[in-house]
């Protein structure tokens, strides 16, 4: 059982895991300060006969310090996070040469339409497959998400990618897989009684293997 984030298999793991660790350190420091402080106070200032509490209403200086430090930290965190957010999800973030795959979510399956051997969606050689997502490694992929019925969510933990598929909307999400292997795509938005079983197998392959698979699959689809 892993005690940390999942196996890293995309280019997003760098920024996301890095940010996660940075936040863990910052919040960890705050956590230790507060919890250790509380335990220390609980022990040191417990009631004893003859003791009296120190009568004070506060300290403006303390207020300024412990307002300013969190505020500055949060603003800095926001600026750094936003930089990566714009890169991953921004309106103009999708790399121009990203390989397109259309994914139509439906209770309770993923209908995956490949662009076929010509590499373009919307041409006659496109074909649709259920619940099997084949991806070439090492190049940006753009997934065109749509939904037949309710809100679903495209989620591959090892790629750190998540995007809701909303009926009535066509939403693009991009990522780049870095490690060949088999992964799982899960639905990450409650979509009905079959939500827990709405999964697809994800095969990340080298470009050569992917091309071989593509040829075979396109042939089977047209027969």
């Amino acid at each position: 059982m892993r005690w940390w984030l999942p196996f890293k298999a995309s280019t997003f793991t760098g920024p996301i895991d890095g940010l996660f660790l940075a936040i863990l350190i910052i919040t960890g420091i705050a956590f230790v300060l507060v919890e250790v402080g509380l335990i220390w106070f609980v022990v040191k200032y417990r009631q004893r006969p003859g003791r009296k509490a120190f009568y004070t209403h506060g300290s403006t200086r303390a207020e300024v310090i412990w307002t300013a430090i969190p505020a500055v930290t949060m603003v800095a965190l926001g600026l750094i996070s936003n930089h990566y957010w714009v890169q991953m999800k921004g309106r103009n973030s999708i790399p121009p040469n990203a390989y397109p795959i259309a994914i139509h979510a439906k209770q309770f399956e993923w209908q995956i339409t490949y662009p076929g051997p010509d590499g373009k969606l919307g041409t006659p050689d496109d074909f649709t497959v259920r619940n099997q997502l084949h991806l070439p490694v090492g190049r940006p992929i753009v997934v065109l998400l749509s939904s037949e019925d309710v809100i679903h969510s495209f989620y591959v933990p090892q790629f750190r990618v998540r995007q809701d598929a909303v009926p009535g909307m066509d939403i693009k999400a991009w990522f780049e897989a870095t490690v060949p292997g088999t992964y799982e795509l899960g639905c990450s938005q409650l979509c009905g009684l079959g939500h827990y079983r709405m999964r697809a197998q994800v095969f990340v392959q080298t470009q050569e293997d992917y091309d071989v698979w593509m040829k075979q699959a396109a042939q089977e689809a047209s027969s």
């Binding site: 439906k106 209770q107 309770f108 399956e109 209908q111 497959v129 259920r130 619940n131 099997q132 009905g192 009684l193 079959g194 827990y196 079983r197 709405m198 999964r199 697809a200 197998q201 089977e220 027969s223």
Partner: protein, 245 residues
């Protein structure tokens, strides 16, 4: 002679009573009754049925060792007949007709991620025992318009019962976890229906005498009707023919 006569008379009485009990007067269509049978032919090029890729469900895929499963929208038999045609009496029964109580439930089985049978009929009020033999999650969504729709899940080997309250031809059934799974159910107020099998033939037995409109329904090719008059316990033939589109 006297003793023998008593025994014979008693035996005869017993026999008559047994026969009478067996015949159960008052229940229509028990013994005898007319029969309508026929074949559903298919003309034209047999359409190729796409293969079903069950890779996402290894437990089901493993059950197909001989050949991979194909979709069942159009099943043309080796002898050029069409299977899975639902043939039923649409009209012609007397207004006073009352269907006998069904003998037991109709079973719909989910095995190998397919519905067995693909097309079938049931009486109004007769229990449908929906069986999950696969042991993996199936849901059964019944999209009736005259019958209350339902959507129930079966995550393990189990049987769930449902009944239908209104005649409806046909109620579509589907599984949403395995999008290729479809079945069709005809709910009728009488037991006079049949489904064409692997030889394309169907039989409807036990009809009271009368003139009937029978309808043949296919999920892709629509419906066709025929009028048949039966009297007594004769057998009449009604053939249908669907053409490839």
């Amino acid at each position: 002679m006297g003793k023998l006569g008593v025994v014979a008379a008693t035996g005869g009485a017993v026999l008559v009573l047994a026969l009478a009990g067996w015949m159960r007067p008052g229940v229509p269509a028990a013994q005898g009754g007319g029969t309508i049978s026929g074949k559903v032919k298919f003309t034209g090029a047999k359409p190729a049925m796409p293969k079903i890729d069950m890779s996402e469900e290894p437990k089901c895929k493993a059950k197909y060792t001989a050949a991979p499963p194909t979709e069942e929208t159009v099943v043309v038999n080796a002898n050029g007949t069409l299977a899975n045609v639902f043939v039923y009496v649409k009209s012609g029964l007397p207004a006073t007709y009352k269907a006998p109580a069904p003998a037991g439930p109709v079973t719909l089985d989910q095995d190998g991620c397919r519905y067995h049978p693909h097309v079938f009929g049931i009486l109004v009020g007769q229990p449908l025992a929906i069986k999950n033999s696969d042991g993996i999650l199936h849901n059964i969504k019944a999209k009736g318009t005259k019958n209350r729709p339902f959507n129930i899940s079966q995550p393990a080997v189990m049987t769930s019962d449902r009944t239908f309250t209104a005649p409806e031809v046909m109620v579509p059934l589907e599984c949403n976890v395995h999008g290729w799974m479809h079945a069709w159910l005809g709910v009728l107020p009488h037991p006079f229906f049949g489904v064409s099998g692997s030889d394309g033939s169907f039989t409807i037995k036990g009809l009271p005498p009368g003139t009937y409109t029978i309808e043949a329904w296919h999920e892709k090719y629509g419906t066709q009707s025929a009028t048949v008059t039966v009297a007594g316990s004769e057998t009449k033939t009604a053939d249908f023919s669907f053409a490839a589109k």
